[in-house]
Each structure stands twice: as structure tokens, then as C-alpha cells.
């Protein structure tokens, strides 16, 4: 059993490192929801997701999503770029 707990301890140490590097431990449930939606949308569009997509897929109101994106951007977790195709649209990109 000692070996089992040691293995689990190593796995937790790995996850701890990931959590520290992601720097998302202080996010609220709404912020987490938006963050996860951005990750999922990133699988479909490498140039970034537009805010309308995130609003539709997160199931949250536009104003909440805007407020949350602003906070995530201030924290350096995401970046907001203006779309080259449509100047009125902002694209959300995850910071590497």
C-alpha cells in the first residue's frame, strides 16, 4: 500500500506543477466555465475563437462573458486580438 500512495503522491506532484503553471487556481466557477469553453473552442479554430462562439457555447450571458474575458485577459491567461476578417469581432487566444 505504501508504494501505491507513493505513486499517487508522484501523480499529484505532477498535477500540482501543472496547476501552478496554468495559474488558474483562483478562478471563480463562471471564469472556469469560460476558460474551459475557450480550450474546447481552440480545438476547432487555431487562430482563436470569437466571442459570439464563446457566449453560445458557455451558456452564459454576453455581459458576463465579456466581464470574465476582461479579467482573464488582465491576468494574462488569454489574449484578445482584433479579427482580420471582421474588424468588429475580437478573437480570444490562450496564452502559451
Amino acid at each position: 500500500m505504501k508504494e501505491f500512495y507513493k505513486n499517487i503522491g508522484d501523480a499529484l506532484a505532477m498535477l500540482d506543477g501543472l496547476e501552478q503553471d496554468l495559474n488558474i487556481r483562483h478562478l471563480t466557477p463562471n471564469e472556469l466555465k469560460v476558460f474551459y469553453t475557450i480550450i474546447i473552442r481552440a480545438a476547432y479554430n487555431e487562430h482563436g475563437s470569437n466571442i459570439t462562439d464563446i457566449v453560445e457555447n458557455s451558456g452564459m450571458s454576453r455581459s458576463t462573458v465579456y466581464k470574465t474575458l476582461k479579467k482573464l485577459s488582465t491576468e494574462g491567461i488569454i489574449q484578445l486580438h482584433q479579427s482580420e476578417e471582421d474588424g468588429r469581432e475580437s478573437l480570444v487566444v490562450l496564452n502559451s
Binding site: 508522484d10 487556481r25 480550450i39 480545438a43
Partner: protein, 189 residues
Amino acid sequence: MKNFLTLSVTSFVFSTVLWVLWHFVDTHVLFLAGKGGFFYLPHAARVLCVVYFGYRAIPALYLGELVGPYVLDPGIYSFSLFIPSLISVMSVPFALTMLNSLGFTLGQTRSSPLNRRNYKHILLITFISAGFNALLVNLYMSRNNLSFPNAITDIEQVYRFFVGDFLGTVFVFIFLAMLLIPVLRQARN
């Protein structure tokens, strides 16, 4: 023996839970329905269990791979999964063997070429094992004229397997990191 039983039960439950979660999202969550190939969560169980429990976790993982499609939702695939599932589970040992042969032996200290306490190293193992899984399972399927429902076994499916295994594992890692680490930190304080 007790350790083997504990790690086998853990591996089996972890693999099965991830399969159920993945299958639910793939079939019930509106905007992700039918797109499950792009985030195959159970690959995380293969990687985590083989890396942390060793090769002794393989039988339980193999059983976990088969329980979903044969017991929980029988009949979703029209062909036998015994060999493809075995290839999928073995993709992680293949990746570890390849890295080992290149001099990257798995250890748990900072000086280990492949440190299992470093998530970047675990992501490298995930990346290589996803490649092995994508290539070998699709090679087997194309040689035997097999295909998933509403899909063709082609290079696009190889790409989908590869991306799906990697992204699915990353989602599980992030989810576990956010779920477990704050709880453990709170319990420690």
C-alpha cells in the same frame, strides 16, 4: 498482492469512469455531440495508470477499455474491439519503451531524463503514445476493412485519433489539477 489489487481496481474504475463521461458528452452534450473523437478522455487513464502504476496496470486498463462498449453500451461498434483495445492500451508502454531506448528512462527525480513528477514529461509520453495509438489502431482497422459508424478509416481518422487522445488527456489533467490540488491544499492547511 494487495498493492496489485488496489492499483488494478483504481485503474479499472478510472478508465471506466472516463469512458462513461466521454460517451455521455459525445452523445448528449449538444454542441459536442458526435465530436468525441476530438477529445478522447480515456487515453488519460492509459497514460496515468501505466506511468504511475507500471505495466501491472495493463490488465485492468484492458478490461476497462472493453467494459464500456461491451457492457455499458453494447452494440455501438460493429466489429470486435479485443485487438484494437489491446493496441490502444499498449500504446503507452510502446512510447515508454521508445523513449527508454533513446536514453530517456522514466524516474521520479529532477535528474531523471524522464521525470514522472514533471507534467511536461508526461505530456511528451502522451504525445508519443497518441501517435502510436493513432497509427497502429488505424493500420489494423484498414488491413481488416473495419470502420467506425459513419466514419471512414483514412488519414483523417489517424489525425482525429492523435488529436483526440492528446486533447482528451490534457482536459483530464487540467480537470484533475483544478479539482484535486485545491482540495488537498485546503486539507493540508
